[in-house]
Amino acid sequence: MDWLEEELKSALSRKEPAGGFDERVLAAARRPKTVMLPRRWMAAAAALVVLAGAGQAYRWHRGQEARDQVMLAMRITGKKLSYVQTRIAGDRQ
């Protein structure tokens, strides 16, 4: 081993963490484990929620449209029936 390697051994001698490190590790080990989701999973989950919400809103909108169409058809039919009845009554008189 030459002088540089000896200097490297000395320069890279082991360092210790700040005081209380063992206690901090033990405290962390005792803490109940919380699952930390990676960001990309959180983004995917958020996208799913948005998509599901949009799908629900679209279905609601389609339902409203269908209901309005049925109501309109019933109103038209009602008017036509009333017109026919009026004509029949007129003919009889």
Binding site: D2, W3, L4, E5, E6, E7, L8, K9, S10, A11, L12, S13, R14, K15, E16, P17, A18, F21, R24, V25, A28, A29
Partner: protein, 150 residues
């Protein structure tokens, strides 16, 4: 050993402590899989190396110290001088990650190249080449700063 590997590799005390804590928590979770003290030591080194490299890659988006940015010391440090130790640590911090980790394991952990290859999961030839290149580069940089042989 775990903290020290991360510290010398990353040159960041806070991040090194975070990694060391994370490694020991992993050890706590994997205690059942470890067969002996030697196995545990190997496992700790390997996980510390992996986590440190991962942290360095995550950090790599931030500007790093380039080799030429390491300030010239006011006085020429001589072998055995604490200033030389500090200069060496700064120069090692500027090496590419593979070379840097090989140097930390060689001179801090006193591992031989085959042990380093096993811990880093790279071929023995690559480890030898990392160490030779790093030593040559350090000698050149030190010579440029007027630090020579005893």
């Amino acid at each position: 050993m775990v903290f020290s590997v991360a510290y010398h590799f990353l040159h960041d005390r806070e991040l090194a402590e975070e990694i060391a804590q994370d490694v020991f928590l992993s050890l706590h979770r994997n205690l059942g899989a470890l067969e002996s003290a030697a196995h545990a030591a190997h496992w700790l080194r390997k996980v510390a190396v992996q986590r440190s490299i991962d942290a360095a890659r995550r950090r790599s988006r931030r500007p790093q110290v380039a080799l030429d940015d390491v300030a010239e010391p006011g006085e020429r440090p001589a072998p055995g001088d604490p200033l030389l130790g500090e200069l060496l640590r700064k120069l090692i911090a500027t090496l590419p990650e593979g070379q840097r980790m090989a140097m930390v394991l060689r001179y801090q952990e006193d591992l031989d190249p085959s042990e380093i290859a096993a811990v880093m999961g790279i071929p023995l030839g690559t480890v030898k080449s990392h160490i030779q290149r790093s030593l040559a580069l350090l000698r050149e940089k030190l010579a440029r700063r007027g630090v020579g042989e005893r």
